[in-house]
């Protein structure tokens, strides 16, 4: 599904963002990417959705080879992924439902099917009642749910979440995390970058820990049967 093989990524101004990173995340898996800020979590995610290209090594994502993917083909890769960020990235001048519909419209979905698909994902994230609300009328947790709905509406095989709870209070954090677990339970792989170790400890999921651009711990390799217990 997502396979990194000896991936190096150099910063444009020198130095290495990633050093010899290798891992394989299987279909339907839930994996945490942990580490301090600047450890390379976001870089790993950017390589997955082809925002960045590896300097060397190979990145494969659901059949696409990101290392030498033509720029034209990037949209096709991204349609297989759902992406969620810390800052939600919603369009302020559109209602929740329109924000979700946007992802379908720009990828050329049949117009007639859009309203039903939008309502289905908004229901899934528990926001059907707020479909007509603008982002400014929603709480942080609700905005992140809209963003997740937008990421899900194209039925991705992988959901990438870069610090999805970074801007949320504890209660909203729990809600969003539970939502991500539910999504994973229905078969979608989830890769979640976070430095919230409490969250990581709550669930028996795989943990890949990065430090200064290198994988220092991978629970699938280092303690295959045990529970995630990162040292930092």
């Amino acid at each position: 599904m997502i396979k990194f093989t000896n991936v190096f990524k150099a910063f444009p101004k020198g130095g290495l963002a990633l050093k010899d990173v290798s891992f394989h995340i299987a279909k339907g898996e839930f994996a945490f990417l942990t580490g301090h800020s600047g450890a390379g979590k976001s870089t790993v995610l950017k390589l997955v959705f082809a925002e960045e290209r590896p300097t060397s090594g190979e990145v494969r994502v659901s059949g696409f080879n990101v290392s030498d993917l033509p720029t034209r083909a990037i949209p096709m890769l991204r349609r297989r992924l759902g992406i969620v960020f810390q800052d939600f990235r919603l369009l302020e001048d559109r209602m929740a439902a329109e924000n979700v519909a946007f992802a379908l419209e720009v990828t050329g979905a049949r117009r007639a099917t859009i309203p039903a698909r939008v309502m289905r994902v908004l229901t899934q994230v528990g926001l059907a009642a707020k479909a007509q609300a603008y982002p400014r009328e929603l709480s942080g947790g609700e905005q992140q749910r809209v963003a997740i709905a937008r990421a899900l509406v194209n039925e991705p095989t992988v959901l990438l979440a870069d610090e999805p709870t970074g801007n949320l209070d504890e209660r909203a954090t729990r809600g969003v995390f539970q939502l991500l677990r539910d999504i994973n339970a229905s078969g979608t792989a989830v890769v979640m970058a976070t430095h919230d170790l409490d969250l990581v400890r709550q669930a028996p999921y795989r943990v890949i820990e990065l430090q200064e651009g290198a994988v220092v711990f991978d629970s699938a390799v280092d303690e295959p049967r045990g529970q995630a217990a990162p040292t930092t």
Binding site: F49, T71, R72, P75, M76, L77, R78, R79, L81, I83, R89, L91, D93, F102, A103, E105, V106, T107, G108, R111, R150, N154
Partner: protein, 285 residues
Amino acid sequence: MNLTIREALLAFRRAPLLSALSVTTIAFSLFVLGLFGLVAVNFQRALNEIAQRVEIVAYLLPGTPGETVTLALKDIEAFPEVQAANYVSEDSALARAKRELVEFRDQYRELENNPLPASIEVKLKPSFRDAAHVNVVADRLRGFGFVDDVHFGRDWVEKLDRLRQLAAAVGIVVGGAFAAVAIIIIGTTIRMAVLQRSREIAIMRLVGATDGFIRRPFLLQGTIKGLLGGLVAMGFSFGAYYLINRFLIQATFFTEVQALAIVGFGALIGLMGSLLSVGRHLKRV
């Protein structure tokens, strides 16, 4: 496609002032172009009227037999440059002289012999009424044995040529300059629109919109602005024409095809401006 149109039109609603401003600036630069076009159209018309009088006259040796002339007329009319060739006999030359040169009427009456030679008057097709073609045809006429002399207003045919070339050169330079200005203006407004919507564009990219899809509304938007600018400019030009025609001199307006071409040109430079701008700025978003 539906979405493209909606997004393009949404831009006018989101930034009405900016849109109005760009349409107005485009309209004014096209208006200047239109005014210049009006001058050119009228100047061209005047030149064509003058050019219609471009005529080559071949004077014939006295006593040229009628059949020879008839045959020669057929030959001459078959020249690709020639629109018409007319034989003017000695008698009709004299009659015409009497009619047209009234002040010499008395002298003509006293004449015993007709001093005027017979001639063949050759009129060229409109696209051949320039010095080079006139010279070629004149030389060919001189080749006929019975032709005594060939006359045409060499000087003013050449002047006419120079005038035409000057008009064309000025037209290309001024027209090009204003088209460039309009393209830059449209490019700038598209640039502002791209920057204004950079957040939206980033999200579109994230959810897998293709670059072509992202670009299309901007291209349509630029084209619509150019089209509107062209229509407004045509309105202004008509106003200017109306005033000039009424208070200054009699002038002609563009033909429908010319008017449509100018509006279409507006749309085209709108498209060009946005094409030049959108690709460059999308890369930076």
